[in-house]
Symmetry: C2
Subunit: 128 residues, 2 copies
Amino acid sequence: MVPEPVRVSIGRGDSRDPKRPVYVISVAASIVSVHPRTLRIYEDAGLVCPARTPTNIRLYSEIDIRRVMWIRHLTQNLGVNLAGVRILFELEERLGTRILERLYDEGVDAADAAKSADEAPEPSASTA
Amino acid sequence: MVPEPVRVSIGRGDSRDPKRPVYVISVAASIVSVHPRTLRIYEDAGLVCPARTPTNIRLYSEIDIRRVMWIRHLTQNLGVNLAGVRILFELEERLGTRILERLYDEGVDAADAAKSADEAPEPSASTA
DNA sequence: AGATACTTGACAATGGTATTGTCAGGTTTC
DNA sequence: GAAACCTGACAATACCATTGTCAAGTATCT
């Protein structure tokens, strides 16, 4: 499901709006250190919804990037699968709360899940 | 983590208290239609914490049973893995809200997750 | 025009998870 | 003493996540 692709006419909005779609898939993939294939999978799963150019090219905004970073954190560090991520995102929308950030702040002790979270990334910027 | 095993002296509490530990593992397993092995796995994962008799026998309360039913619903019908269940339970504790029930009420459209939820169980009894 | 990067759809290999199942050695219950 | 519990180990099955590639087609940019 997920709201329909934004499909903006590029060049609109403030020049540094985090919602502004700017990164083509290869760039987005390198930013978050995943294969472009993975990003397409996330999209198919309804977890991210990058805008598209009028000619159908994916464009990821800063917000999309952060969303992907959350997915990476949840899957890689906490061991949650995509179905779980879906539920969490859905809960967040429904509750209108940054429940994920709360998890992050207080630190989920998922380290005992045989997952050593060597380094904790910072998926959500304070500029949100 | 999860609070330490209740380790009650049996026979205490109201005779029909949902917190009262009464079901031995084989009975609990048959109630929720899983292998006893599975229940032990859930416990190892910190998802359920049945009481123990003074001689170390697991005793599941009505509440424990419901909790397991939630795990089954999340894993079997929504495709969430145990790590995801852990996060959801933790969120619920942290937020002090019945977020899961809310998901259930409004109906998560996880049917599109290639999971045909043939029959929807009723993890939370109205007697709660 | 031509090179490069994008699109979708398919296929596959890798490693991990979930669940069930069993076996062994030991304790509890009846 | 038999049946059911305990822990720990090992294994089989089936599915999931991620990366990777190939093909045929479109878009972008010089």
